[in-house]
Symmetry: C2
Subunit: 347 residues, 2 copies
């Protein structure tokens, strides 16, 4: 049994997402969310000599795009919170070099989008700072050759594997302005169910998602039905099925309002086996499809749970299992928060 | 010229360091701070089969030791903020697995101790949470074989190189209780002065330290003389000399109250070339010598600036330079903060 609670912190001062941007690779651009992305790259190298340099350039473009979308100038940006999958998060650190702004480097694997938003919202809500960029990225070719096999090997992919999304997403947070509001965040615990297969990330991350979701529902006294969308980071098809089972074991039924970024991003005809993964998966789905639907009020309240597999070739080579983690944030439409505040005041 | 300001956030609600702990390897145990460390390992493997597993065990012991020192119980711990040098910060994530507590993973290379304290103090000061463990570690043998050469090669070390400290340090932060207080934090920007030599980390990090120090002094309207100790993370002998020059170019004279953790930790007779480095260097010096002197009021106000080289073998192999970063926190003795608050109220 997963026993979790008291992991949630609340933001009363309305940290807004005042701007956002998503850039993806050509394969992702052919997927279900084609019309939602801000930019679709023509090729995976994005004019660079290596995939690693392309990944970094995507982050730079995502940050600049989100700054534009927020209608602020680059000099108004006060903090950059960023992480990625590569050793020593070089994508983030080298992208940060291009901006004359303080930088917090994170590592949360594919949970990074939620981790950065949770920290960013904490800082903005406390009144320390405004105009904070929260961002992350992944690239199929950099992840594949770092965590698994050389690309040239042309290895066959086992049926449980997922496809690392090539893409970057960025949100700009500020207490001033308007836009979707982050109302609370649930920081996750590290879970480890003993999985050792680097091609089965869904099974690693499903228990982490369950742990964070259960804590979130207990802490906030809510159920899945209280959200227009409950969306996990990148569990993929198998991981999502395991999550549904785990949640049901603990008395929570995830219904038709549940979805997974790894299943949304590609269309059913694409050869991606269990679906999308990588930091860029939840980052691009959030910063395109989800935030647009929150802005149009189609989604008034979203529970966004990004999930990460804390995988490293060093630990795998030393016979270790793969731990997982999930962080969650609640994103609500601006007028939904105002409506609730007005209701509270009138009571 | 380094042009930096508006990077500092202030903590008015007294986030205290209620407990701290430092564990080091045998070589560090023979250094200048011998009598200050809480635990000196008899050998670098610490009873484990690999150096990586030893590093993780050091972090677990540092967290447990700090919990004991804070006189709280493990179940009172509410958040763990941790990072390290290894690929995908496996030291931190696997250590976090041993604690049933939410976890924020960071990567700031050797700036991690200040990065974790800055984030931890931000969360505690905002009233979100209490009992937050901020921790990091490094291990000579894991860093050397990951960033440079196999240990078995017995490579000769160039004169500009530093010695990665084997050790872990942990501080527990809470708004309740007593102990040294974190009064503000300055988040650093990524700097890059074009260094490509993986055996010259002092030169990479000195400009980062200068950038953060200059911003800090401008933001807080202070000078180096306002502190009993201004201490950088691990610039070593060469890096410290470069820093003194850079600061003088910008009109700041670092005097006899300036020191560097990389120069404090070993004694002059040990074969460490330019001095200590690694996340564990500033973490163990802070969580032993410095915090003990703040508790006894010998240091009433310390400016702690941990510096990191954002080095990765992948970026180096692709011909990239090495960026650096430095984050700073001000740590003051409890009664010094009370005295200043009383003075302000009487004015």
């Amino acid at each position: 049994m997963i026993d979790a609670e008291n992991q949630t912190i609340y933001f009363k001062k309305k940290p807004h997402i005042i701007g956002n941007y998503a850039i993806v690779g050509p394969k992702e651009g052919k997927g279900s969310l084609n019309s939602y992305f801000d930019y679709i790259m023509k090729d995976d190298l994005f004019g660079e000599k290596t995939y690693e340099k392309a990944e970094r350039k995507m982050v730079e473009q995502a940050i600049m795009g989100a700054i534009d979308n927020a209608k602020i100038s680059p000099k108004d940006l006060k903090l950059l919170i960023c992480g990625d999958l590569l050793n020593q998060i070089i994508t983030s650190s080298f992208a940060a070099r291009a901006f004359d702004v303080p930088y917090i480097g994170l590592f949360g694997a594919c949970s990074t989008m939620a981790e950065s938003l949770a920290i960013g919202a904490s800082l903005v809500n406390a009144g320390y700072i405004d105009n904070v960029a929260c961002t992350t990225a992944s690239h199929f070719s950099t992840a594949e050759r770092q965590f698994r096999y050389p690309l040239e090997l042309g290895n066959q992919r086992p049926p449980t594997s997922q496809w690392t999304v090539t893409g970057a997403g960025c949100s700009i947070l500020s207490s001033k302005g308007s836009g979707p509001v982050i109302t609370c965040a649930t920081f996750g615990k590290v879970t480890d169910f003993g999985i050792m297969d680097v091609n089965n990330m869904g099974s690693v991350m499903a228990p982490s998602a369950a742990s964070t979701l259960i804590s979130h529902f207990k802490d906030t006294n809510t159920t899945p039905d209280d959200y227009d969308l409950v969306v996990t980071g990148d569990l993929g098809k198998l991981g999502s099925e395991i999550l549904l089972d785990l949640m049901e074991d603990h008395g929570y039924k995830l219904g038709t309002n549940y979805n997974d970024c790894g299943q949304i991003i590609f269309n059913g005809k694409q050869s991606v086996l269990m679906g999308g993964s990588g930091c860029g998966c939840s980052a691009t789905v959030l910063n395109s499809y989800i935030l647009k639907k929150v802005r149009t009020k189609e989604f008034k309240k979203v529970l966004f749970v990004a999930t990460g597999a804390l995988l490293s070739s060093t630990s795998t080579q030393q016979g270790d299992t793969i731990p997982g983690i999930a962080h969650a944030v609640v994103i609500e439409s601006d007028d939904e928060v105002d409506r609730k505040n007005a209701k509270k005041e009138s009571e």
